[in-house]
Amino acid sequence: MRKSRFWGGVHPLSGASSGKAPTRALPVEQFVPKSVRIPMNMHLGAPSSPIVRAGERVKIGQLIGEAVGALGVNVHASVSGLVTEVRQAKDGEPASVAIENDFKDEWVELHPVGGVEDCDPQAILPAIQAAGLSGMGGAGFPTHVKMCIPCGDKCEMVILNGAECETHLTSDHRLMVEEPGRVLKGLVAAMRAFSAEKGVVAIEDNKPDAVEAMRGAALGKSGVSVMLLATRYPQGGEKQLIQAVAGREVPAGKLPIDAGVVVLNVGTAAAIADAVELGKPLVERIVTVTGRVAHPMNLRVPIGTSVGEVLDYCGGVEPNAKVVLGGAMMGGCAADSGAPVTKGSGGIVVYGPGEAPEPTPCIRCGRCAQVCPIGLVPYEMEGYILSKQLHAAEEIGVMDCILCGCCSYMCPARRRLAPEFHDARGQIQAERRKK
């Protein structure tokens, strides 16, 4: 049954199967980099602080960055070898640890908790926290914080986000096709940790092989089901997913747990399974490399690998190309080839060089309002923002904006709506903090 009960949405690159055709059938290959530079700020909270020094030898999985603050996340070495440099935070660049790969693939001693079905549920959360898990769907929310349920709230359902609604990306798709068991184990672990009765793997219907694989893995597991969703962007947005799967809305300004639901990316779920059953911290992830490269492929890449090294392996890029870390709708651009693959980087998509078109005046066609998944009126918000009435923009909901980019995508006048809302939200948040 296809259910898609979320508002608005668009179909980018619908004529070209969302750009996923080149890579969706390619099995994942392991990539071995020469060196990595692991940043300390791959998650939503305060950057972690490095605890190793240049000249030290490290093994894979060794703790190299300690969590700082309530939303902090541990950082681990993704290759074994010599620490060549520990850079401090400077000029907007985060602190990072650079490691030269000795290709020995030596792991630290691992401490698994046990099988996901029979281990102590209380031990799951500490294992996740120790493993340095943060959201691998892009937002980077610390997973162990997500697992802390506030007093009085109950988690009824754990939803695994297998939608992968962004264009070009096939990492989650290949994960579900090749390792459905591992993903399922992560779901079971999360369900037990949350004491949730139901677990749902939600997958868009443009991935029939993934659906089949996950259904097979879910056979016999009580409370677990696989739900098919209509393919539409941003089906994989947390709020839209909850609306479509559970039929509920997350109250404004609150978290999904306040609606009795927790959402996890399938990649994060697989990492949870590793943390619990194998004691493995998060050190690598699947990345889709596609676009204007000679050899598009899905690669399993150690965290901290430079984008340049990955692109060279795939055939190199032309000078002044545009390299986007993520899908076309929300992915940010890499400034240069030294940019690292982080815990949340789902893909590396290469475009040819080209200026974004100049915005022309708004013609009030209202297409932006028709596609907004949150029910906002972007052209009105933009009007307030441009006339410096941030308070009015806040009143009509700019803080509810999920920055999905549907409005900018549809705008016939090519207005840069999503970036403006991003800036406005930043200004409003800064003002709120001052008070």
């Binding site: 508002w7 980018p12 690159l13 264009t167 709020k239 609306q243 809305e249 997350v250 109250p251 404004a252 609150k254 890029v317 000078p319 002044n320 190309a321 545009k322 390299v323 986007v324 076309a328 709708m329 929300m330 992915g331 940010g332 651009c333 400034a335 240069d336 080839s337 475009y351 200026e355 974004a356 022309t360 005046p361 708004c362 013609i363 009030r364 066609c365 209202g366 297409r367 309002a369 998944p373 949150i374 029910g375 906002l376 009126v377 806040e394 009143e395 009509i396 909901g397 509810d400 980019g405 900018s408 995508y409 549809m410 705008c411 016939p412 006048a413 090519r414 840069r416 999503a418 970036p419």
Partner: protein, 302 residues
Amino acid sequence: MKFFVSNPPHVLSPVTTRRLMLNVVLALVPAAAMGVYNFGLPALLVLLASSAAAVLTELLWQACTHKPLRVDDLSALVTGLLLGLTLPPSAPLWMAAAGAAFAILVVKQFFGGIGCNFMNPALAARAMLLISWPAAMSGYVSPGADAVSSATPLAQNFGWLDLFMGKIPGSIGEVSKLMILAGLVWLLATSTISIRIPLSMLAGACLTGWALGANPLGEVMSGGLLFAAVFMATDYVTSPRPGPGQWLYGLGCGALTILMRHFGSYPEGVTFAILTMNALVPLIDHAIRPRIYGHKRRERHA
């Protein structure tokens, strides 16, 4: 190696402002062609005069006020063509040009340019011409070689086929309902407009006409109602946000048109009906807002 950097989204929908305007121009071609076929050279000249004057006025204004030249987004052309199609074929060319210049200069540019006008420029210009030179604007010419002035067709009786095909006196673009419907089909097929406003406007007109004891179909087929429902009331800037507000707007336009036809002093009511509703659009948009995800209906403020 440095990479090129820009803001997301990195893929954009193929629909641009110019494409939307072009769709409207193409939708107007059947009505314009039929008008020229029916009324001959004078009609063609009127259309050319109004279109050229509109584009030229916008070009001159943007050049003189040092703004970027945007005539290539075709919005001025659309305004000029729309105005020309609502004029009688006997209108003097200088009048058509003056109307087009008024539409672009006063109604559109003086209020802030494209996207900022609070009234439909072509319609407001038609209203201006109507009250400035009422005699010239009411001179309806029968189609064919004879330039015989007659009373407005609303005051006469015609066969249904003639009303539909357009072999009646009237303005250049308003007479052939068939061609207007062809334009409507094109606009709907290209997703340029939605069916809400044309449908609700016709429904409002029919209901009001029936309530007043007139023949609803007759009301729809005569005068500029169909043309205005498809091309004038659906102007993006002066119609409400897509949604329930558009149904209300259309109903209002249709009802007001019939009321003005029957109780007003002008034979044609659609011009002032739509202009009145244009003024009410900000109110409609303010009152009818979509519900924001995560908020209840009543409390909408952060």
